[in-house]
Amino acid sequence: MKATFLLLSVALTCLIASASMAQDGPAAPTSDVANSAQTGKEKKIPVEIHGFLLGDVAVRTTGERPFKGEGGNFVLGEGRLRLDISGATRSGKGYFVTKGDTFYDAIAKRFAGELREGYAGYSRGPLDLRLGRQIITWGVGDLFFVNDVFPKDWESFFSGRPMEYLKRGVDGARIRYSGSSLNAEIVAVPFFTPDSLPSAKRFFFFDPFATVRNQREEKPAVGAANTEVALRVYRKLAEYDVSVYAYRGYWRSPGARLDNLAAPTTATRFYPELSVYGLSAQRGFFEGVFSLEAGYYDSRQDRSGRDAAIPNSQWRVLAGYQRELAQDFTAGVQVYGEIMNDYRAYRDSLPAGMPQQDRFRGVVSARLTRMLKYQTWTLSLFAAYSPTDNDYFLQPEVSHKLTDNLGVSAGANIFGGKSETTFFGQLNRSDNVFFRVRYDF
C-alpha cells in the first residue's frame, strides 16, 4: 500500500516533469515580465539534476564493542551518491522534487538505496498541495523537539552524518493555506514512520528487554482511522512569529510489552497513541532571536499513567536565545524541560528493577558557531547538560570548504553521565569521532 502511494507520487512527478518539458516550447504562454526584460535567448532546461557524493566514517573511541556488534570500532563507514532531480512547470504552479540516495555501507557490506524525499506539488491561489515523501520541520528548538512531531533519525545524527539526515520524510499529503491574516498547514500521514533509534549493533544504549529471545515490532496499520494528522496555524502577531500546533498520531519511539513478566520470551515493541497540542513564538529581541515553545503530550493509551509500557502524558517547554557576539560568531542558549503527569501512578506501576525517571527532566544547551576566512572554515560546538539526569552530550565540529563544491568536516559525539539509563548517559560507551568528505554537483 505504501509502495502504491509512492508509485502514485512518482507518477504525478513524471506528469509534472513531462508537462514542464512540454512547456519548454516557444508557444508556452507566460506573463513573466522579468523574462521579457531579458536580452539573452538561452535555452532553459526544465529538469534540474544535482546532488552530492558523500563519504562518512565514524570510529568509536571508547575501545568497547557492542555484544554481537558489527564493524569493530567503526560506527559508520559509507559512501553515498545523492541524486536530486527537480522540475517545475513554467508558471511554477506544478513542481516535483526527488532526492534519492544510493549508498554502500562498508560495515554491513551491502549496497542499498533510500528515497529521502519524493513529492509532487501543486499551487493554486492561496493553497499549496504536496503529495509524497517529504521532510517537514516545525518548532523553534535547536535539537530539542516539542511540536516537531515528525520522524527523526537519531542513529544518523549520533554517528556523524550531516544534520539533514536527522530528519526523516513522512509519506503523506500536506496542504497549506497562505492568507493575508492567517496561514495554516495540515499534514495527513497514512503510513507511519518511526524514529530511527541507535541500533544495538553499533551503539551502547539502555534496553532492559534486549535479552528477550523474540523481538517483535507492531506498527500502526494503514487505514483512515490510523492516519496521523498534524495541524499548524501561524501568523505574525505584533513582533512575534506565532504558531499553534495540534497532532493526532503516535509516539515515534516504541514502548515494549512482554508476554510474561517473570520469564519473558517475547518483547513486542509498539507505538502508543499520542496527541500533542502546543504553541511557539519567536521574535527579534536585543539584537538576537528569542524563542519560546510549549507542548502538551497527551498519551492517549495511558491517560491514568498506570501502564509502565507506555510513556505518561507530559508537558514539554523550551526557551532559547540566540545572537551574534562578534562578526561571524554566533551563540545560542536553550533551556528545555519535560514534566511528567501522574508521577505517582508511574512510580507505583514501575516494575521492580527498572530505573526510575524523575518527574522533571531539565536540559540546558549552548551552541557556538564561529566562521573564519570568508566563511570557508566553520568551528562549532553543541553542548547539552541535564542537571536532573546528570548527563551530557558534546558535539564539536570543524568544517572546511576547499572549493565551492568540495568540503571536509571532522567532529566528535561525546556522551556521558552518572547513570547509563538516562537519555545521554546510556550512550556513554558510544563516544565517536567522525570524518566527512562531500562533493556537490
Binding site: V33, A34, G92, M163, R176, G284, G288, Q327, T330, F441
Partner: protein, 272 residues
C-alpha cells in the same frame, strides 16, 4: 585702483561659484540620503540576478549566484527583500527574507531546504560577511543614515564624474572608523567608497565599475544602476566582484511574495 580692479577681475569668476556653493550646497546628510535612495530604493520594486565572485589574493575563485527581489513599502522607508540562491550546491534553494525598517531592527528569516525549515535569524549581524563575500549584510541592503555623522569634505572629479566626497563616521563602534564616499553629483550613486580601520589605514575599497541606465517596466522612468561592483579587502587582497544582470524595475512585485510561503515555494516566475 588698478590693483583693486585686478583683484576684482580675479575674483569675478570665483565669486559666483562660492555664492552658488553657499546657496545650493546640499547638506552632507541630504546627499547621503539621496545616495541611499539612488542605490537601494530605485523604483517601486526591483528584480535582479546577482553573481558574486569571491577571489582570494592568489586568484582562487568561489562563486555565488542568487536572485534578489526587492519591494519598497509605499509611503514609508521600509523595504522587503527576497533572496534566492542558485549556486553553489550546498546553499542551492536556500532563501532569505528580510523586512527592513530604518528605525528599528530588521525582521529576517532563512529557509534551510535540506530540512525544509524556516527560521528567524538575528538582525544584529548586519556587519557580518554576506555569504562569505567582502560585502556585509549592510552593504547589500543599506546602512541607516542616522547611524553615522556625515561631513561634506570636498567636491572632485572621479573619472568622468563630478562627485561629492562625503566622510561618514559611525556613531557607535563598528569594525571601521570612517568611510569616504565619492557620490556622483548627477546620479547620486556612490562610485567609490573607502573604509578606514582604527589605525586610519584603508581597509576596504568599494568601486562601482559599470553604471547602466535601466528602463522601468512601462517605460516611464529609468534608473541608473551599478551593474558591476567590487569590494576589495585592501589588507588581505581578497576581493568580491559583483555582476548584476536581468535587472528589471517597476514589475509589480506583489507584497505577498515577501512571505514565509515564498521561502518554501519560491515564486518560480521571478527567480529564474
Amino acid at each position: 585702483m588698478r590693483y583693486t580692479t585686478l583683484s576684482f577681475m580675479l575674483l569675478m569668476p570665483v565669486l559666483p561659484c562660492i555664492h552658488a556653493f553657499a546657496q545650493n550646497k546640499p547638506a552632507a546628510t541630504e546627499i547621503v540620503q539621496k545616495s541611499q535612495e539612488a542605490f537601494y530604493y530605485s523604483g517601486n520594486d526591483m528584480k535582479s540576478n546577482v553573481t558574486m565572485e569571491l577571489i582570494t589574493a592568489d586568484g582562487k575563485k568561489r562563486t555565488r549566484v542568487l536572485t534578489m527581489l526587492r519591494r519598497n513599502d509605499p509611503g514609508t522607508a521600509n523595504q522587503k527583500y527576497f533572496l534566492y540562491f542558485h549556486e553553489p550546491g550546498d546553499v542551492r534553494r536556500m532563501a532569505f527574507l528580510v523586512w527592513k525598517y530604518p528605525e528599528k531592527d530588521d525582521d529576517r528569516w532563512i529557509f534551510i531546504p535540506a530540512v525544509n525549515m524556516v527560521r528567524r535569524v538575528a538582525a544584529k549581524d548586519s556587519r557580518s560577511s554576506f555569504v562569505g563575500s567582502d560585502f556585509t549584510y549592510e552593504d547589500i541592503s543599506g546602512r541607516d543614515v542616522p547611524a553615522d555623522t556625515h561631513t561634506l569634505l570636498r567636491e572632485e572629479r572621479l573619472g568622468d564624474a563630478d562627485c561629492y566626497v562625503i566622510q561618514s563616521v559611525p556613531k557607535a563602534a563598528t569594525e571601521y572608523t570612517k568611510k569616504l564616499a565619492w557620490i556622483d553629483k548627477k546620479t547620486f550613486l556612490p562610485l567609490k567608497e573607502e573604509y578606514y580601520d582604527a589605525q586610519n589605514q584603508l581597509a576596504r575599497l568599494f568601486t562601482a565599475d559599470k553604471i547602466e541606465n535601466v528602463a522601468g517596466q512601462g517605460g516611464k522612468k529609468s534608473y541608473q544602476t551599478a551593474t558591476k561592483r567590487t569590494m576589495k579587502n585592501v589588507k588581505s587582497g581578497h576581493r568580491t566582484d559583483v555582476t548584476i544582470t536581468r535587472v528589471a524595475y517597476d514589475i509589480g512585485l506583489d507584497d505577498g511574495i515577501f512571505s514565509e510561503r515564498s521561502l518554501q515555494n519560491p515564486p518560480q516566475q521571478w527567480i529564474k
